[in-house]
Structure formats: C-alpha cells, structure tokens
Amino acid sequence: MTTQITSAPVAVEPRKGARRRPEASSAARVGRPGFLWALPATVFFALFAIAPLIMVAVLSFMSWNGLGSPEFVGLDNWSRLADDPVMLKSVWLTLLLTALGVVIQTPLSILLGVWAAGHQRNRAVLSVVYFIPLLLSATAVSVLWRALLDPNFGIPARATWLFGDGNLFGEQATAIGVLAFVSTWQFTPFHTLIYQGAARAIPQVLYQAAEIDGAGRYRQFFHITLPQLRNSVVTSMILMIVGGLTTFETVLILTQGGPGTDTTISAYYMYQKAFKGFDFGAGAAIALALVIAATIVSLIVVRVSGYDKMRSDMEGVS
C-alpha cells in the first residue's frame, strides 16, 4: 500500500501498467490464475457499463418515449438537435463552465497540493477540514450552497454591499459564477490530493542540487516542481474536463438551468429532454455527443501535452 502512488494513470495510457510487469519466465507460469478469475467482474462490467454505452449510440438513432419499444428514425434526433437553439446554447455553456473549472482549479490545486506535500505544522488537523468537500455528495454540496446563497435568507441578502440585490441566481453571469464557484469548492480538494501525491514523489536530490546552485524557492517551483508534475497536470485536467462536461447535480439543484435557459448545460438538457420530456432518443443523442466530446478532448490534451511520449523525456531525471 505504501507505493500506491505508482499505479497507472487514469485512462490515459493503459499499456503502461501492462508494460511495467516483468516478463514471465516459463518456470513462473506454474500456479498462475487462469482468465476465469477475471470473468465474473468482466461480465458484470460489460453488462452494466459497456453494453449501455453501446446502446446509447443505438438509441440515439431511435425514437422512444419511455414506454413501448424504441423505433428506428435514422438521423432525426440529430438533425432536430442541430436546429435546436437551446441545444447550441447548452454546448456553449458546457464548454464555458468546463473551461472556467480548469482555469480556476488547476493553479489553485497545484499550489495547495505542493503546499500540502511539504511538512507543515498542524497539517493533520488542516487536512481533515480541507478535504471535507471531497467526502460530501454533489447533492449535499449543492443543497448546502443553495441554502447559503438563498436570495432572501442567505449570505448575499446580508451582504448587499458585495452582492447587489442578493439574488445571484437571477442573472446569467452571477448564476454561472455560482456554478463555477461551487464546482471549485467541491473538486479542488480532490485535485489537490493528486498533486500532493505527485509532489511527494519528486526526488529530493533535485531540490538539493538546485539549492547548491543557489536557486530560490520560486525558481525551484518553476524549474523543478512544475515540470515534474506534468503527468499529474494531464491526468487532473482530463478528469476536470470529463467532470465538467458531465456536471449535473449542481445545475439541477442550484439553478434548474435558469434563469430561463441561461445555465442549461448539455448534461442537464439531456436529463430534461429524456426524463422530463420523454424524448429518450434526443437524450441519448446528447449523451453520446458528450461521451464523444469528452473522449476527443482527452485525446487532444494527451497529444498536445506530449503525455504519450513523456516517458523518454523523463529519462535521466530520476
């Protein structure tokens, strides 16, 4: 358990885990578990995660109102969504909120993570309070902030010098601000943990060498810490993007997509279409679009960052 940190990075390069294993010698084949050991979990997972993923693609070409059987309608769902102004707006809002999340949370969680990786006084106590948002359900977090920011009884109503009329949910800009803030509040601790683990694993020799060369704290941060955290930045950003594209509870509970459709992001629109409007085909199409978008963005991040080639860059460092 102590070397937990070294496990393979999320969904980025699965081959890595496999490659790390030493080659099996023929003698070591004795007493190895057969594939049957993996079968129950694989079947279960295929049934409840992979099959629905395939079905969502199929359903996106079908019309289904929740009762009876789905009917094939070709590209009808897709062409309707392409002409739907709310859909287009939701795509833009989703991208905006996701980008806001990445831009705000990345620097914040790197700083906090690097800080938490050091030996600070009171760290044990702090880390209990710090990471509480990590434990709370998105539902609890959203309900909590909805109550705290209530236009009539919440904090903004008491601090009108800061919040104007106190109704943060009444305008698009402030409603989006609230959503970005609540996501930051909820997810920064998680990303902080990722960076904390990675910062702990940076070889101390690097800092000692830099110290001898007379590099100050900030030069050390920018020339050693940040470059060494590259892998984690990629992992964390991918998780942020996938999380951002699929934000749901926060919007459902905090703004219900409002005012009007000003915070109706795609995942929420999908829920509305499918489970409120009984247009499950359109819902499936939006869901599929989200999966495709998340996959493409993840691949782009991996490519642009050079993550897939990063192993060779790291050679000679550790």
């Binding site: 969904a11 129950p40 049934l47 995660a49 906090l112 209990v128 710090y130 998105a138 509970i253 869901a287």
Partner: protein, 276 residues
C-alpha cells in the same frame, strides 16, 4: 514547498492555504450553526450571526419527513455495493496482476477505459435496461449499476496493491505446489488488506453519495435514498433553511465517521489516481 526548503516558511502558500481553510470552514460553520437555531432566529439575524436560540428540532423534523427510511435504504444499497465489489474485484485484480496473457491485459484496458465513462453517458439506456429487467423502482436496480461503476477504480487501486506483493512469495508457494486458489486465499488476500480497505471505503462513498441512478431509476418513497431525500426536501421545504441544513448534516454524519476511521485508506487510494 519541499523538504529541502522547509527551514524557511513559505508565506505565499501558507496564506493561500489559510484562505482555502476559510472558504471551507466558513460554510461548514454556518451550516452547523444554522441547524441548532430556530427558523425565526435564522431568518431574523442572518446566517453569519451567532445563534441566539438552541434547538434540535431541525434534526427531528428531518427524521419526521422520512429520513430514517432513506437512511435504511441507502445503507442497504451501500452494503450490497460493497459486497458485490468485494466479491468481484479481488479475483479480477489477482488475474490482472498474475495472469500474463494478452486477454487479461485487454480486460484491464477495458476497465481503465471504463474510468472515463460518466454515469450521465449511460443513464438513458440504463433506464431502458432496468425497466426491461423489471427492476424499475427497486433498490436492486440502483445497486447493480452503482456497483458496476465502482469496478474500474477499485480494480485499479487493488491491482496496484497486489503488484506490491513480491514475486518471491508466489514462487515459494508455487514450489510447494500451491494452486492459484490457495495462493489467492493464503497469500494475496491477507497481503492486500490495505488495498481492500481502500476499495471498501471508496465504494461506500460512491454508493452513499450516489444521486443520478436513484433519481432516474426509482420513484416511490419506499425506495428513496438519502441524497434523493435531500433533493426532495429542498424542492418541498426550500424556505426552511435550518431544517434543510439539518438534513444535509445528517446525510454527512456516516461519511464523516467513516472518514475519521479510514482517512489513510481513502487518501492513499485517491492519491493513487494521480499517477506519476
């Protein structure tokens, strides 16, 4: 910042962390303070003031609105999800780590891919599948997909833990003619207790906090879970903020208790996500 420079305090990071502490601490304080005061006290003096009254009515009213039942349902879901994960993941991780065939590495890749599948992506077909299976509005219909979505992360965490078992131990047991089964029960399981507790905590958290599957796959009050209870409480009694926050606090208590006992397991498991 690092052990090498710990002699000089890092004021900037220190200030940042204090700000974060404030951002997390203040809402938590406001929440706790609100739950022990009367509604009129809260409405009159505002959330930031010090409570002038003391009452536990907000907690009892949460129970009166059905939270006792929701707790039992959530507990049932959580225990069953943990059961499924503990039944399926250890053999899977064992095969991933010790069976070196091409098939298992493909299987591992499939599970890693699964890490990136959000519940939203599959909720429409899930609704179809669960309805067709006759499990709509049945807690089993919530348990099965929730457990399935715990598998990728649990497999990643546990296979990481099992990789740490030294191969000499396996070879020594193989020398004695031990079967894979015996190795699994006498060597692998005892030595991966840390990883096992991490996946238990992780799955428990997932199941306890789950929202989307229960929202879409259940309907009646008798199958309601805590998160849904919170959501309904908000839509129905949104104006009763102390009561609402009382319900939020109640929903957190079991998680915080588990966290206090299993902090190490949880934090290590989550740190493993980062990779290096």
């Amino acid at each position: 910042m690092s052990r090498g420079t710990r002699s000089r305090p890092n004021y900037l990071a220190g200030a940042g962390s204090m700000l974060w502490l404030f951002l997390v601490g203040l809402p938590l304080y406001v929440m706790l303070a609100a739950t022990v005061r009367t509604r009129s006290d809260y409405a009159e003096h505002g959330p930031l003031s010090f409570p002038e009254s003391f009452t536990l009515d907000n907690y009892t009213s949460a129970f009166d609105s059905g939270f006792g039942r929701y707790f039992v349902n959530t507990l049932l879901v959580t225990v069953c999800v943990i059961g499924i994960v503990l039944l399926l993941v250890p053999p899977l991780a064992y095969a991933i780590v010790r069976n070196r065939s091409r098939v298992t590495s493909h299987v591992f890749r499939l599970f890693l891919l699964g890490l990136a599948i959000p519940a939203q992506a599959v909720i429409v077909p899930m609704f179809y599948l669960i309805s067709e299976a006759g499990l709509y509005d049945n807690l089993l219909g919530v348990i099965l997909p929730t457990a399935a979505f715990c598998l990728p992360m649990s497999a990643l965490i546990l296979s990481g833990a099992m990789r740490d078992i030294s191969s000499e131990l396996f070879e020594a047991m193989a020398m004695d003619g031990a079967s894979p089964r015996r190795m699994f029960f006498q060597l692998v399981l005892p030595l991966s207790r840390g990883g096992l507790s991490t996946i238990v905590v992780f799955s428990a958290l997932q199941a306890w906090n789950g929202f989307l599957f229960p929202l879409v796959l259940t309907q009646s009050d008798s199958t309601k879970v805590v998160t849904l209870g919170l959501y309904n409480f908000q839509t129905e009694h949104g104006i009763d903020i102390p009561g609402l926050l009382g319900a939020v606090v109640l929903s957190m208590v079991p998680v915080l208790l588990v966290y206090l006992f299993a902090r190490r397991a949880l934090v290590q498991g989550l740190m493993g996500v980062g990779g290096k």
